[in-house]
């Protein structure tokens, strides 16, 4: 089952998929180019049935000066979790929003925006969700955000 997903994606996007592998049973990881993530997402949803969005996570690779954005989508029929990932530069963190593909990604992307500062183009409402209204400073989940020190008594 997982191998067929890999083959289908490879056949449809031969140039855009950078890396694709089966991590274990029920886990497929697809790494794509930044500007093609929307098309691959649409293909995963419509052709392969990955219609249930599980999470959108950002990872800050500060050494490589890159952000990685990972969309986890679950297929209810196939029972496979696909991780659709792409890397974007840290100084220009812009990515096309996948809200049109998975409507459930609305709040996930909003959270990723406020925690990492990754702008999602085409997202209807990029405003603070969890942080206090008067939040200032760099987004908290970036690696260069410094946490308070150990309390003294």
């Amino acid at each position: 089952m997982e191998d067929r997903v890999v083959e289908d994606v490879k056949a449809s996007f031969p140039d855009d998929v950078l890396e694709i592998d089966v991590q274990r049973r029920g886990r497929v990881s697809i790494s794509v180019k930044r500007d093609r993530i929307y098309d691959v997402g649409l293909f995963l949803r419509d052709k392969l049935g990955f219609d249930h969005i599980a999470s959108v996570s950002g990872v800050d690779y500060i050494d490589k000066k890159e952000f990685e954005v990972v969309y986890h989508a679950w297929s209810i029929d196939k029972k496979i979790l696909a991780a659709l990932r792409t890397r974007i530069p840290r100084d220009n963190p812009v990515l096309k929003s996948l809200v049109d593909v998975w409507e459930g990604a609305l709040y996930h992307e909003r959270e990723t925006w406020e925690m990492f500062g990754i702008k999602f183009e085409g997202h209807p409402n990029l405003s603070l969700l969890l942080l206090p209204e008067d939040w200032e400073g760099i987004p908290p989940l970036r690696k260069d955000f410094i946490l308070p020190k150990r309390p003294q008594e």
């Binding site: 942080l131 206090p132 908290p140 955000f145 946490l147 020190k149 150990r150 309390p151």
Partner: protein
């Protein structure tokens, strides 16, 4: 004029004791949950531990309440609202800080959005430790607050 009469009357120890006794046994609590001690709030208010025996009834309207339970952590976003709610409550008002997060920030000593102790926002009368405290500890907190109220305005000599 009226307030002066009231003050005079309250200086009489006997009357003061009656007033304090009345206050101590009718502590209605505001229905405000700020953190994970919320379900224990239900646990202590429902039949098994039943804090209504001590006059502590959870009540939805804060204008008629005199006790505020801070159930757990208080974030910076919530802190403003906690202050607002505290200001809206009629005098006299009392605060019990439940759990270690309300007392010192507890777990969230390195968190960027948690207030390190609710006493930075509002005055606290009793600290109840635990994560979350068992209902027995809540009852002890209420009892301790009652003791405190009973001594109010009476000089200890």
């Amino acid at each position: 004029m009226l307030s002066k009469v009231r003050e005079r009357l309250m200086n009489i120890k006997f009357l003061r004791r009656i007033l304090n006794w009345g206050r101590a046994w009718s502590l209605w609590s505001v229905h405000l949950e700020t953190g994970c001690c919320g379900p224990e709030d239900m646990g202590r208010a429902c039949a098994r531990f039943d804090t209504e025996r001590f006059g502590t009834l959870p009540f939805p309207t804060l204008r008629e309440c005199d006790l505020l339970f801070i159930t757990g952590l208080v974030t910076k976003k919530m802190a403003k609202r906690v202050r607002m709610i505290y200001d809206q409550m009629p005098d006299p008002k009392y605060v019990i800080a439940i759990g270690e997060c309300a007392a010192t920030g507890g777990f969230y000593w390195d968190s960027y959005s948690v207030v390190q102790g609710v006493d930075r926002v509002i005055p606290v009368d009793v600290y109840v430790p635990g994560c979350p405290p068992r209902p027995e500890a809540w009852i002890q907190g209420i009892k301790m607050l009652q003791e405190k109220i009973k001594k109010e305005g009476i000089d200890e000599k």
